[in-house]
Structures are given as structure tokens and as C-alpha cells.
């Protein structure tokens, strides 16, 4: 049965906590009510409202792939009132989750194509969901390349999974850190994501590029893709704006006439170009 109260969250229990980087954690959440777990479904790209009772709600994507059932994961950086309290929760504690909201990555349409994932900093989580979705059905896709950059080695999230991807023969992983962020042991690239991407000379043929990162990274990455010959419809990204309801009602996440919470968060660059500069 669907909740009558659209603002009532699912009651979740924290099953696992992973420290990813300074102030960044991943929670694995399981449904307290088994019925909820059974009825719940989502698709990669979607997000939700995570709540700490007594503090409020915060918006993040679902960082786990929809190919793995029975739980969801979220990764967040401790920054405000809600995330500050979230960070103090422990395994076994209860919290709320409302969702899933928003549109999805059109993974079905990407079958038979090469995939190029480009992520920066804390924007790997939305990408992680779609990366694992594709890797869990690896046979559907051709070459899979992941370019991931962070400020410093310490700031790279999902370190254990990066290692796993690195070791997989069917994934090409390139990691980079900003100049000055490297350690003596660092074996990856040093440089900003757009520059590293440019040096990689990405081949646009039969390839989809998925870009997630801070606005400034996105701004400088698009021209590099364009230069390499990627067309607008070959490029996808996700937008973030401040949200409260997630349902297209509260009125704050719109970019022009488009509500990021309902019509997004996933946009192709073709769609993005039609939007005004309001994100």
C-alpha cells in the first residue's frame, strides 16, 4: 500500500557504516518493516530525502545500484545540521528515508555502447549507482572507462571499490588528484579532471559520457568532450539544487520551468542547454 501521507518516511535501520574520507561516510540502510522492503523499488539516478528524527531531512542520491535489492546506500559529507547529526548515528540506529524521487539514467538506451564515467569529489556517489548497475550487467556494454578525481588522495571516496575496479580487466580506471593533493606513494594522475580527460583523448564513437561533479568541473569538462567530438545527446549529467519536498511542490529546486526533483536530476546535455542558468 502506498503511503497516504506523502511526507511520511520509511523507517530504516543502519546496517553498515563505512568511513570513506574525512567527513564522508556511507550508510547501508535496511527497511525496518519487511513489507516496505518488498514493495520498494527504484532505478539508478534517483534520489531521496534522508531524515534524522528531530533534526530534519537532507537530499542525496541513492548511491547503490538498483540491481542489488533489499537495501539502499547513501554517501554524504558532514556539512549542515542534518548531515552533522547523521554522522553521529551508529549501526542499528533508526532514521527515515523518503523516495525514490526523480528520473533515471537511461541505462537501457546505452546497451551496446562504450561508457565513459567522469566524476569529481563527492559526486562519485550518484555515479557509483550507475557504474555498478552497468557492471552488474557488464555483458550489455562495450568498453567501460572511469575517470575519477578528488582534491587529494585522502578525499577519494570508495577507496575499496576503486581498487576493485582497478583490478578488473573489463574496466579502465583513471584516478587523479589536484596538484598538491598527491602523496609520495600516489601512482595515479596528478591534475584537474578536464585536463586529464583531454590527455586521455576520449573516443566519441558509440560512446556515452556521464559527468558528475561540482559545477566548475562540469563547466570545464563539457568543452573537452565537445572538442573530442562528443555530441550533446551523448553527454549526461545530474543536477543538484536545494530541495525540501522532493515532489515538485515546495518550489525551490526549479531551474526555469524544470523541477530538478521531478523532471531531473538526470539531464542530457541537450536538455541542459535548453535550461536557463539557474543552478
Amino acid at each position: 500500500m502506498e503511503n497516504k501521507n506523502i511526507y511520511e518516511p520509511y523507517m530504516m535501520r543502519i546496517a553498515k557504516i563505512t568511513d570513506e574520507a574525512p567527513f564522508v561516510k556511507t550508510f547501508r540502510l535496511e527497511f525496518v518493516n519487511p513489507q516496505d522492503a518488498e514493495n520498494f523499488s527504484f532505478h539508478t539516478g534517483q534520489f531521496g530525502e534522508y531524515s534524522v528524527y528531530g533534526e530534519g531531512e537532507s537530499t542525496f542520491c541513492i548511491a547503490s545500484p538498483h540491481t542489488r535489492k533489499g537495501y539502499i546506500e547513501c554517501t554524504f559529507r558532514q556539512a549542515g545540521r542534518v548531515t552533522g547529526e547523521l554522522a553521529s548515528l551508529e549501526v542499528g540506529d533508526s532514521m527515515g528515508f523518503r523516495g525514490p524521487y526523480g528520473n533515471i539514467f537511461p541505462v537501457e538506451e546505452w546497451k551496446g555502447k562504450n561508457l565513459l564515467f567522469i566524476a569529481g569529489g563527492i559526486a562519485l556517489p550518484p555515479m557509483r549507482s550507475v557504474i555498478w548497475t552497468c557492471l552488474d550487467t557488464r555483458e550489455n556494454f562495450k568498453d567501460v572507462t572511469i575517470l575519477y578525481g578528488a582534491k587529494s588522495v585522502n578525499d577519494l571516496v570508495y577507496k575499496h571499490e576503486l581498487k576493485e575496479w582497478e583490478e578488473r580487466p573489463d574496466v579502465k580506471l583513471v584516478t587523479t588528484v589536484d596538484p598538491g593533493g598527491e602523496t609520495p606513494e600516489w601512482k595515479g594522475e596528478v591534475g584537474f579532471v578536464p585536463t586529464v580527460l583531454d590527455n586521455m583523448k576520449p573516443n566519441p564513437e558509440n560512446t556515452i559520457a556521464i559527468v558528475c561533479g561540482p559545477p566548475v568541473m562540469i563547466k570545464f569538462t563539457f568543452p573537452v568532450l565537445e572538442k573530442a567530438g562528443f555530441k550533446d545527446e551523448q553527454i549526461y549529467t545530474t543536477l543538484e539544487n536545494r530541495m525540501k519536498c522532493g515532489l515538485g511542490k515546495c518550489g525551490r529546486c526549479n531551474v526555469g520551468k524544470v523541477f530538478v526533483c521531478k523532471d531531473g536530476p538526470v539531464f542530457s546535455r541537450t536538455q541542459l542547454k535548453e535550461l536557463p542558468d539557474e543552478y
Partner: protein, 340 residues
């Protein structure tokens, strides 16, 4: 249903109020409170303001209150229990003497709240409203309902409408089944209309100042006209008065309040005019200056809502202009946009 037209003696209004009071648990009407006219629970006809143009605040608070509890919970470490507030028992509420622009304002609110995922709180409260409006026989310099598709005798959204047609008589239009059930309470006071009444002749004269379609087209086209928005909003001080008195503004905030044992999640009025409305935790703000926030206010009402919800998000009541501390007269601004 086909409206039923009747006539009533104005002197019978007091009896009607008494009958409504006896039948319905809550009866709201405009009440004069010093400089304000507010929609309040009344005890009898004498509480009702005699001479008023509009209530200071709109009627939206009866379906979309300033503070709405949307979730209750108890907080015990390891054992949090949550419960949704009961929405099935909101009392039947009669709104007596509100204006047509208020009654029709529910169209926008309903489009936003009910939409594809209905908001039970709004929906249940609105369903319990019985709206008895009074057509306007006067208007002021801020009124412009006729420019946005309304008029001083607009019956949309009303269950019954009264129009003062003569010194001692009123035209009664019974417009809905709900209205009919209410009118049955005082059917003995209603008489038939012998001859057709020219309602229009008794209504306030509110001249049409602009073509709303031009406003819709031109706002839609003007997103990047930075100087237009800066010039219009230079004197805007970024408060929320306009949004809070507006009958159609529905933007809201969600906040938790708790003590050590229990808490509640609240839905609160919010305004796109506030700088914090869209501020990201990172410090980035997509609408970082007031002109962008003013643009949002007009674009939302006159471009996004018409396109997506098929309603213009404005009733032309002029409350925002009256409440504005710096006299941002929306009618003037819309006229300027229509003439672009």
C-alpha cells in the same frame, strides 16, 4: 450543476449566520481588528466586519496553514516511533463573506498540492471547506482581477455567492451541490427571482489594465532580460510579505522541532523572495540576488504555472501590493511586462 438563482433580504443575513453557526462546527468570517481585517471564527453576525474590501491575509490559511504538522514521532534511543497526523477529522468549516478572488485562488493551490501525488493535509482541509463568497461592489487601486481572468462577481470556487443588488436585497447564486445542502438550511428565507437580475450592474468597476496572454508570453521570453528584473526589483527588500498574504503562493519549508522525548515535522510557509530559499549548503546560491528572486516570483506565476499546471498563479487581489513595505505594485510591473 446549473446555478440556482434566488433573492434574499439583506436583513436575513443575521439569521443565516445563526443557522450556519448551529449546523457547522466552525464558521469563519472577516473580522475587524484595529487596522486589520482578518478571517476569524465568529460567534455571531455582529462579529463580522461591516465595511471591508478584502481580508488582510488571504483565505489560504484555512487549507494551507502557516504551520502544519506533517509527522509526529517519539524519540527514544533505539526505538523511534513515527505516526502521520490524522487528516480524516478536520472539521467542516464555513467561510462566510470572503471575496471571489479568494475563492478562485484555491484553483492554483489545488493544482500544486493535489497534482500527481496529492498532499493529504491540503486535500482533506480543502474538502471540508464550504465557501460562501460575497461579490465585490467596490475595489481599490490595487485590484486587477479582471486582468487575470477573474471579475468582481466571479463564482469559481464558491459554493454560494451573495451579491448585494439593492439596499435591502441580495442576489443568491447556489452554485454547487455542497452549496445546495447549505442553502437548504435557510430555504425559507429565499424567494424566487421574478425577473432576471443584471448582476454586472451591481459589481465594482475593475478596469482591465493588461492582456494576461501578453504577460505570459513576455515573461516567458524575458528570463535573460537582466535589466528588466533589476529595475523592477531595485526597491524590493526581500521580505516575504507578498508571498504570505498571497492566496496562491504555496512554497513551503519543512522543519523539525523536538524536545528530548518527542518531535514533529512541520510544513511552514516559505517565500521565494528570501535569499536563503535556494541557498546550497556549499554556499552556492542559484538565485543569489534579489532580482533573480523577483524574476522567479513572476515567472512562476505567469510562465511556469500556466505552462505546467494550466493555471495563472495570480488572482489579481492586489494583496501583495498592499502589504509591500516599499509599494512594489505588481499591477504596474505586469503592465510594464505586457507592454514590452
Amino acid at each position: 450543476m446549473e446555478p440556482i438563482i434566488k433573492i434574499i433580504k439583506s436583513a436575513s443575513l443575521a439569521t443565516i449566520v445563526d443557522k450556519l453557526k448551529g449546523r457547522y462546527p466552525r464558521l469563519y468570517a472577516p473580522v475587524k481588528k484595529q487596522e486589520l481585517v482578518e478571517l476569524e471564527v465568529i460567534n455571531g453576525f455582529n462579529d463580522i466586519a461591516q465595511d471591508y474590501l478584502l481580508t488582510t491575509q488571504s483565505v489560504k490559511k484555512l487549507a494551507f496553514p502557516r504551520v502544519e504538522k506533517i509527522l509526529d514521532y517519539t524519540l527514544q534511543k533505539g526505538n523511534i516511533q513515527q505516526q502521520s497526523p490524522d487528516t480524516s477529522n478536520f472539521p467542516e468549516t464555513v467561510l462566510f463573506g470572503i471575496r471571489p478572488c479568494d475563492a478562485s485562488g484555491f484553483r492554483s493551490l489545488t493544482a500544486i498540492f493535489n497534482g500527481d501525488k496529492p498532499d493529504e493535509f491540503y486535500k482533506s482541509r480543502y474538502e471540508k471547506l464550504i465557501i460562501i463568497s460575497f461579490a465585490c461592489n467596490k475595489a481599490d487601486a490595487y485590484c486587477f482581477c479582471t486582468s487575470v481572468g477573474g471579475n468582481p462577481g466571479n463564482t469559481e470556487g464558491s459554493d454560494i455567492q451573495f451579491t448585494p443588488v439593492d439596499n435591502d436585497e441580495m442576489l443568491v447564486e447556489i452554485l454547487t451541490e455542497k452549496g445546495k445542502a447549505v442553502a437548504d438550511l435557510f430555504s425559507d428565507l429565499l424567494s424566487d427571482c421574478d425577473k432576471p437580475v443584471d448582476k454586472q450592474a451591481y459589481l465594482a468597476n475593475v478596469p482591465v489594465v493588461f492582456d494576461v496572454n501578453k504577460v505570459i508570453d513576455n515573461t516567458t521570453k524575458s528570463f535573460n532580460n537582466e535589466m528588466l528584473w533589476i529595475n523592477q526589483s531595485l526597491r524590493c527588500i526581500g521580505c516575504g510579505a507578498c508571498a504570505f498574504v498571497c492566496p496562491t503562493c504555496a512554497c513551503f519549508d519543512i522543519q523539525d522541532e523536538q524536545n528530548m522525548k518527542q518531535g514533529a515535522r512541520l510544513r511552514l510557509w516559505d517565500s521565494c523572495g528570501f535569499s536563503l530559499f535556494t541557498l546550497h549548503t556549499s554556499g552556492h546560491n542559484p538565485r543569489h540576488i534579489q532580482s533573480h528572486r523577483w524574476r522567479q516570483r513572476l515567472m512562476h506565476k505567469f510562465s511556469y504555472m500556466p505552462e505546467q499546471l494550466k493555471v495563472v498563479g495570480c488572482e489579481g487581489c492586489g494583496r501583495c501590493s498592499r502589504a509591500c513595505p516599499v509599494d512594489m505594485n505588481i499591477k504596474e510591473h505586469l503592465l510594464q511586462i505586457a507592454e514590452l
